[in-house]
């Protein structure tokens, strides 16, 4: 059946409507040229033909269409570029978060160009070590003002330990900031997940009623971009039947990786939280008779203290819709290496201990020994403080000996062992030897210089945070022992004998071995030294490690940022509004509109002729 006589008016009307709609969309595009996340829109139209072939085909032939039909609006988007952009964005997020943390650490530990000696810029800590050496060196010279020099040496040592305390405290603050930052990020991710859930629901409703909800889709795409910075995600759209032969797209977001975990499934979404870190047995959720936790060896246990613990673990709740209906079994506790993006980078800053990683940590992540976060720098600084205290305490603690190097009693006679042989002085006193010398009447000299608190002389568990001048030294500057060797034939030490001060000074140049086991008892490679060098060199090593990590992270961030920016420009070239394109469209649709109006006028004239001017001869 062909179009009816008056049907041509409908053709013209539909033409006007389509051109009008296109002009509206062009106007909307132009108006939104600066709107963040706006995607260029276009009118979808199809050629209309009413009716179908029938038995009584017109003998005249030439079946014509009936005009144009606007079927909806669509957006210009390239899913390929979206996927690429979001992948790169997660790398940018990860590197950016890591670099942020490392820079905070650099503000504390990077002393390049700092220090009291402005010319050398040798660093504050190095300058303080040097100052202590200088003060000790003064004790080896003129002894006339010895008391004053002893006090100066003690003040210098006090400044050094206070500097260590200050660094440790600031590292603690960085840790606290990062932990707060992680909480904030988790809450931002939760907000995004909730927003996406709501948007999904609204878009689906809109689709059911025939509205493409393009503006809501724009909002959702912005949220997806935002989410991709925190977590590496895979986004898919699945068709879902809503009845009456209609299907709508359901958006599903999963974590990217070997074990994808669903974060959002249409109008169901999960929420993240930081948990106690106890590794939960996956079978427990479906079968509560199973053990609740997993031990480091993978076997089950119900005892929390036996369970494997991963610090700052993130847990996803069961996916829930807005009515509170849960999809059971969709919750998940993320493993140590399951996430990627800024959340993971923040976690690693808070948990990775490098060489100080425990056996449990190495089991969870084989690369743990080469990943260094705040715990590594805290342990390294503690290691320096502990070594410094133990070496100097050992150097300043001893018993009087004679010129032959044999320990003597108060009366000057040599102390002998069970075989009657004199006991020769040793570098480091063992507790057994101490007991033996105490029992035999040996003369203890010197004492503890550094302790774990200013209120006592205890030397156990010294860290950078608690290292202090011992109570004995703080009340008596002469605890710093100038020599352990008695004057010839006497049982007193000569005041001008500075053997021990020289020995202490030698400790500053001596190479010390730093082992992870000194700080962390269950460190994977506890007995293997991770550095060997002087105190200053150890601090420089900490700085260098941080600088190297910062440099490589900066390079990676630069690479990923450039790539992300390029991808964003590519996306913009597809989805962004181009004024030239829109101006051309505007002219084109204006002409279409005019032409359709002209068609209407022409049809009117033609039909006027047919109705009023046909067959009127003779009337």
């Amino acid at each position: 059946m062909d179009i009816t006589t008056f049907g041509a008016f409908t053709t013209a009307r539909l033409g006007i409507y389509a051109a009008q709609k296109s002009l509206n969309v062009t106007g909307n595009n132009i108006a939104n040229i600066n709107t963040t996340g706006y995607t260029r829109q276009a009118v979808d139209q199809v050629s209309l033909r009413v009716g179908a072939t029938n038995h009584y085909a017109s003998a005249n032939g030439g079946v014509t269409g009936s005009g144009v039909l606007v079927t909806g609006m669509s957006q210009f988007r390239d899913p390929y570029l979206d996927i690429r952009y979001r992948n790169e964005n997660s790398s940018v997020g990860a590197m950016d978060a890591k670099l942020g943390g490392l820079e905070e650490l650099s503000n504390i530990l990077d002393e390049v160009g700092k220090g009291s000696d402005g010319n050398k810029g040798e660093g504050i800590m190095a300058a303080q070590f040097q100052d202590l050496r200088d003060q000790l060196a003064k004790l080896t010279g003129d002894q006339s003002t010895e008391d004053e020099f002893l006090t100066l040496a003690r003040s210098s040592a006090d400044s050094l330990v206070k500097l260590m305390n200050n660094y440790a405290q600031r590292l603690g603050e960085v840790e606290k900031n990062q932990a707060n930052g992680l909480q904030k990020d988790v809450s931002s991710v939760n907000d995004i997940l909730k927003n996406i859930q709501t948007l999904n629901e609204n878009i689906q409703k809109g689709e059911i009623y025939g509205d493409s909800s393009l503006e809501l889709r724009d909002q959702r795409n912005l949220k997806l971009d935002e989410l991709s910075q925190y977590i590496k995600i895979d986004v898919t759209y699945e068709p879902v039947s809503v009845g009456a032969g209609k299907t709508v797209d359901k958006l599903v977001i999963k974590t990217s990786g070997d074990n994808p975990i669903t974060l959002v499934d249409g109008d169901y979404a999960g929420q993240l939280s930081t948990s106690d870190g106890l590794v939960v047995n996956p079978s427990y959720a479906s079968d509560p008779t199973q053990p609740q936790y997993l031990k480091p060896d993978g076997t089950g246990t119900n005892t929390a203290s036996e369970a494997q613990k991963v610090e700052y673990t993130l847990t996803l709740s069961n996916l829930t819709n807005r009515n509170g209906t849960e999809l059971t079994g969709t919750g998940h506790q993320f493993g140590d290496t399951e996430l990627y993006g800024s959340l993971q980078a923040s976690r690693e800053l808070l948990t990775e201990a490098g060489e100080f990683s425990t056996v449990t940590m190495t089991k969870v992540d084989a690369d743990a020994a080469t990943k260094r976060g705040i715990p590594y720098y805290q342990n390294a600084l503690d290691s320096l403080a502990r070594k410094f205290a133990s070496v100097l305490n050992a150097a300043n603690t001893g018993y009087m000996y004679n010129s032959a190097g044999n320990y003597i009693k108060t009366d000057g006679t040599e102390i002998t062992d069970i075989h009657g042989d004199p006991i020769h002085k040793v570098e480091i006193l063992t507790s057994a030897l101490k007991t033996e010398l105490d029992g035999a009447g040996g003369v203890p000299l010197g004492g503890v210089l550094f302790s774990n608190s200013s209120n006592g002389d205890l030397t156990n568990d010294i860290t950078a945070a608690n290292i202090s001048i011992s109570k004995s030294w703080s009340t008596d500057a002469s605890v710093l022992q100038n020599s352990f060797q008695a004057l010839e034939g006497k049982s007193t030490v000569g005041s001008s004998d500075n053997r021990n001060i020289l020995h202490i000074l030698a400790q500053f140049d001596g190479k010390q071995d730093y082992k992870p086991g000194d700080m962390v008892t269950d460190a994977t490679d506890g007995a293997t030294k991770f550095f060997s060098g002087s105190f200053e060199e150890m601090f420089t090593n900490i700085e260098e490690t941080l600088a190297t990590d910062t440099k490589s992270t900066t390079t990676l961030l630069d690479n990923y940022s450039v790539s992300t920016t390029a991808l964003d420009s590519d996306r913009d070239s597809v989805s962004g509004v181009d004024l030239n394109d829109e101006a051309m469209n505007m002219m084109q649709y204006q002409k279409s509109y005019s032409a359709a109006c002209r068609l209407m006028t022409t049809l009117d004239e033609v039909l006027d002729k047919l109705i009023n001017g046909t067959g009127v001869t003779g009337r």
Binding site: G72, S74, E88, G245, T555, V562, S563
Partner: protein
């Protein structure tokens, strides 16, 4: 294990790191040239990349031979520290860590260069498809449904 052979192996790993640094630089330049549509520069990079790939290949063969000589066939780089003689442990740790870091930087640069190239190829593909009328709709454009809206169709189940 012969310690001088091990020392030589560590020196070889450092050389390998230097080669990785070179390739990383080439990859970074490659991405830069792709972004600026500098085909000549890209061509030069490809040639350098090919030459360096051959160097890497010979390095790989040399590594296998050296590991065999040391009796460490199948030992991963990460595990090398466990087999290092005591006097070389510190050096081994530093060398291995440095090489791993260089490799991570190379991976980063390589991924960026590959992604940039792939995105550009994707663009080329889109242009070719747009130019070819048989290739169907323009990529990235959500095609209008050829069907009429449901309200204009008869629901035969009714």
């Amino acid at each position: 294990m012969n310690t001088s052979d091990f020392r030589e192996y560590l020196a070889f790993l450092r050389d390998l790191g230097a080669t990785l640094d070179e390739i990383t630089e080439v990859e970074q330049k490659k991405a830069e040239f792709v972004q600026t549509d500098d085909l000549e520069g890209l061509n030069e990079c490809m040639k350098r990349e090919q030459a360096l790939s051959l160097t890497m290949r010979s390095c790989d063969q040399k590594r296998d031979a050296m590991l065999q000589m040391l009796g460490l066939q199948g030992v991963h780089l990460r595990e090398l520290l466990n087999y290092a003689p005591a006097e070389y442990r510190e050096e081994t740790k530093k060398t291995v860590e440095q090489l791993c870091r260089q490799y991570a930087l190379y991976r980063g640069a390589f991924e960026v260069a590959r992604d940039t190239l792939e995105c550009n190829l994707h663009q080329v593909e889109k242009i070719l498809q747009a130019a070819d009328p048989d290739a169907g709709a323009q990529m990235g454009y959500q095609e209008a449904s050829p069907q009429l809206p449901s309200r204009m169709r008869t629901d035969f189940r009714a």
